[in-house]
Amino acid sequence: MGTSEIRYFQVGSHAVGNRLLDPGQRTVQADPDRANALTCGHRACQGCGEALGARYVVDAALRATAGRLVAVNATGCLEVFSTPYPETSWQLPWLHSLFGNAPAVATGVAAALRATGRDDIRVLAQGGDGGTVDIGFGCLSGMFERDDDVLYVCYDNEGYMNTGVQRSGATPPAARTATTEAVGDAPGNPFGQGKDVPRIALAHGVRYVATATVADLRDLENKVESAMQVRGARYLHVLVPCPLGWGSPAAMTVRIARLATQTGLFPVFEARDGEVTGVTTIRRPAPVEEYLRPQKRFAHLFSHPSGPAALARIQEIADRNIRRYGLLGPEEGD
C-alpha cells in the first residue's frame, strides 16, 4: 500500500490558480454552472487535444452568448466521437451535414435565424484541419468573403486522424503520416509552401482572426469571448495535438502544444480587420528539436541521414515565424 503523493499541478508553470483570481476573471471551466456542452462519455482517445479544445471553446461561446448558440460540425473525429448512435455528447443544438460544407451550412443557419427574427442566437461552426484547410476551404472562403455572422473554429491536429492519420494540407514538413511514410531519401511529408489559413483569413479582411492552443486554455477562452463580441465572419485556429497521429504520450498533449508555441512553430496571435493586434510572446525559447523529439511522427529526423538538414529547415520556419510576429517580444534584439 503506497501513499499518493500530493502534486501541485501549477508549480513550475505560469498559470495563476483560479482561487487567487477575482470571480469575474476566473475561467469558464472553473464555473460550477458552466454549460458542459461536450459532456463526458464521448469516445475521444486519451489525451485528445481536440476534445479538450472543443470543450473550452463551446463552453466559452455558450457563456458569451448566454446559451443562445447553435453549433455546426464538419465530419471528422470531433463529429464521430461525440455522436455514436444512439448517444450524443452535445448539450446545445448541433448539426452535422458533410465533411466539406460546415461553413456554408453555418451561413444557412445564420441566414435562417436572421430571416425568422431570431438573430440573438449565434452560430459556431467547427471542424478539423482536413475539413477546414482542404475539403471545406472553398466554403470557408465564401463565408469569409460574405462576412456571414459565423465564428468558425478549426481544431488543427495536422492530419486526417479520423481516417487513420493521413496527410492534410496542414501537415507539417517531414511529418510521417500514413500517406507520407518515413521511407526513401526524403522521409515524411515533403517541404511544400504550407497553407497558413489564419493568414489567408487575414487576407480576406476577416473581422476577428486568432490562433490559440490547448496549452493556454485561458487564452483560448478569452479569444472565444472576444470573437463572440463581434458580428460577422470570425476565424479561430486552435492547435490540438493528437497523441495517436503524432505518436506522443497522451499525458504530454498540453506540454507538446506549449512547445509548439515556445519554438515559434505555432505563432499565437490575435488580429482585427486584417491587422495583427496582439501576439503571445515566447516565455522560454526552445529549439524545434525539443518539440519534435517526443513525437514519433518525427522520429526519422533523429535517425535518418537527411535528418539534420530537415531539422535545419524546420528551424528556419520557426525563426521566420519569430521574426514575422515578433514572438520574442520588444526587448529582444537589444
Binding site: 452535422h96 444557412g108 443557419v109 435562417a112
Partner: protein, 417 residues
C-alpha cells in the same frame, strides 16, 4: 394574375409567392433568370422576410439550404446540369436529414462534351438521391408545381425537385397565370419544421448511425415517398379546387381510349408528342400519350393502369444510362412486369436536339408497322457515327471524338449544300 412573362421569371414570381425565407443563388445556365428574379424581389422589398445569399458554388448553395432548413426556415434554390452534380453529395444529405428544401432544376445536359441545352441527364443522375422529382410539361405547370412542391415537402419533411426543361421552358415568353399571393397563402400554411435547431430545445441532427439502425432510417425514407405518392394526387386536386386549373398529379393520360400504342414521356416534349398524336389519331392511328409528372416517387400502379390495355408501349426519354439504355423505361418495365406488351425505348432530344413532329411521326409510323427497334436513338446521324468508328479502327491516335465529329458535321454540311 395573367402576365406575358418568361418561364423562368414566372417561376421566380411563383416561388416568391410561396414566401421562402432563405434563397441561395449560384449562376448556371439555363436556371439563372430564376434566382436573378428572386434576388431583385428580395432587394426591392417585394419579397420581404427573405435572406438572399449569393454563394460560391452549387455545393455551397445546397449546403446553405441545408443549414437554413435545419434552422427552421423555408429554403429554396435552383440549379441545372453540372451544378446539380456538384451539389450531389449535399442532395443526399438534405434528403437523408429529412429537410424539406424545394429546388428548381432547369434541365440541361451534362458534359463532356460541354453542352448548355436541354435534356434530362442531370436530374436523372440524381434519381436515387431521395428527393421527390416532379417534371413539368409547360411553364404554367412548372409554376404551379412549385406551390404544390412546398406543401408536399413540408408535409413529409422531404426535399422536392421541380424539373423543367431548360431553354424550352425557362426562356420561353408566354401568357402565364402567376398565382395570387392571397391564394398561395391560403394553400400553403407557414412552415413548421419537424426538427429545428433551437437553444430552448437542443437536439443533435446528423449523428453517426451504424448498422444497428441504418436500414430502418433508410427504410423510413422509402416509406415517406410511398406516403407522398398517395398525397400527390390529393394535393393536385386541392390545387385545382383553389386555383381552377389542373397541374401536377402523378401522370396524365391523353387520347388513350382504345389506343393500341401508348407513348410515355416527361417534360415539354409532351406538347409536340400530343400534336403529333392528334394528327395521327385523325388519320386513324390508335395512339395515345401518357405524360408522367411524378418520377420519384414512381407511381407503379398508376403507370400499370394507364398502360396495361395497350399492345405496344414506347418510352420516349431525354436521357439514358450508358451500357443499358432507357432509365424511365426500366421503371416502366417494372410497373408492367408480367404483362405481354411490346416495349420500345426511344432516346430523343439529347443536348437540345429538337424533337420535331416529323421525327416523332416517322418513329410512330415505324412502331405501328412493327419496324421500331427495342432501343432507338431518334434522329441519330449514322454517317457521322460510322466515320468516327472508322477513324478509331484505322488510326491508333484518332484524337478526341467530339472534336472529330464537329469537324465532320462541318464537312458534311458543306457537301450537302
Amino acid at each position: 394574375m395573367r402576365r406575358q412573362i418568361e418561364g423562368a421569371r414566372g417561376v421566380a414570381a411563383t416561388v416568391a409567392a410561396c414566401r421562402p425565407q432563405v434563397v441561395c443563388a449560384y449562376p448556371i445556365t439555363p436556371q439563372t433568370h430564376i434566382v436573378e428574379g428572386l434576388g431583385a424581389m428580395v432587394k426591392d422589398g417585394t419579397l420581404a422576410g427573405c435572406e438572399f445569399v449569393n454563394v460560391e458554388s452549387e455545393f455551397a448553395a445546397m449546403s446553405v439550404a441545408i443549414g437554413a432548413s435545419a434552422a427552421g426556415a423555408r429554403a429554396y434554390t435552383a440549379t441545372a446540369s453540372q451544378g446539380l452534380l456538384f451539389m450531389s453529395e449535399a442532395l443526399y444529405n438534405a434528403s437523408g436529414l429529412g429537410l424539406p428544401i424545394v429546388m428548381t432544376v432547369a434541365n440541361r445536359a451534362i458534359g463532356a462534351p460541354i453542352n448548355i441545352w436541354n435534356d434530362h441527364s442531370d436530374s436523372m443522375s440524381q434519381r436515387d438521391s431521395g428527393w421527390i422529382q416532379l417534371y413539368a410539361e409547360t411553364n404554367q405547370e412548372a409554376m404551379d408545381l412549385h406551390v404544390q412542391a412546398f406543401r408536399l415537402a413540408e408535409e413529409f419533411s422531404v426535399p422536392v425537385m421541380v424539373c423543367m426543361d431548360g431553354f424550352v421552358l425557362t426562356h420561353a415568353f408566354e401568357p402565364l397565370e402567376v398565382p395570387e399571393q392571397a391564394d398561395v397563402d391560403a394553400f400553403l400554411p407557414p412552415f413548421v419544421a419537424r426538427q429545428s435547431l433551437d437553444p430552448d430545445h437542443p437536439v443533435s441532427i446528423g449523428a453517426m448511425v451504424g448498422p444497428e439502425a441504418f436500414t430502418e432510417v433508410r427504410y423510413l425514407a422509402f416509406h415517406r415517398q410511398g406516403e407522398a405518392l398517395r398525397r400527390i394526387p390529393e394535393i393536385a386536386a386541392e390545387f385545382a379546387a383553389a386555383f381552377g386549373r389542373d397541374s401536377g398529379g402523378l401522370l396524365h393520360s391523353y387520347r388513350c381510349e382504345g389506343a393500341r400504342t401508348i407513348v410515355l414521356a416527361m417534360g415539354s416534349v409532351l406538347g409536340t408528342l400530343k400534336d403529333t398524336v392528334d394528327e395521327m389519331r385523325d388519320e386513324g392511328a390508335a395512339i395515345g400519350v401518357v405524360g408522367l409528372t411524378s418520377f420519384r416517387p414512381f407511381p407503379m400502379e398508376a403507370v400499370r393502369e394507364a398502360l396495361e390495355d395497350a399492345e405496344r408501349v414506347i418510352v420516349l426519354e431525354r436521357a439514358f444510362s450508358v451500357g443499358v439504355g432507357g432509365i424511365v423505361a426500366a421503371n416502366v418495365h417494372m410497373a408492367l412486369a408480367g404483362l405481354p406488351q411490346r416495349y420500345h425505348t426511344v432516346i430523343a432530344g439529347l443536348g437540345g436536339r429538337p424533337v420535331t413532329r416529323a421525327s416523332l411521326r416517322r418513329m410512330l409510323t415505324d412502331a405501328t408497322a412493327g419496324r421500331l427497334e427495342p432501343l432507338t436513338f431518334l434522329d441519330l446521324d449514322h454517317e457521322l457515327v460510322e466515320r468516327e468508328l472508322a477513324r478509331v479502327r484505322d488510326r491508333p491516335r484518332s484524337g478526341p471524338a467530339a472534336e472529330n465529329i464537329l469537324r465532320d458535321v462541318g464537312a458534311i454540311a458543306a457537301r450537302r449544300h
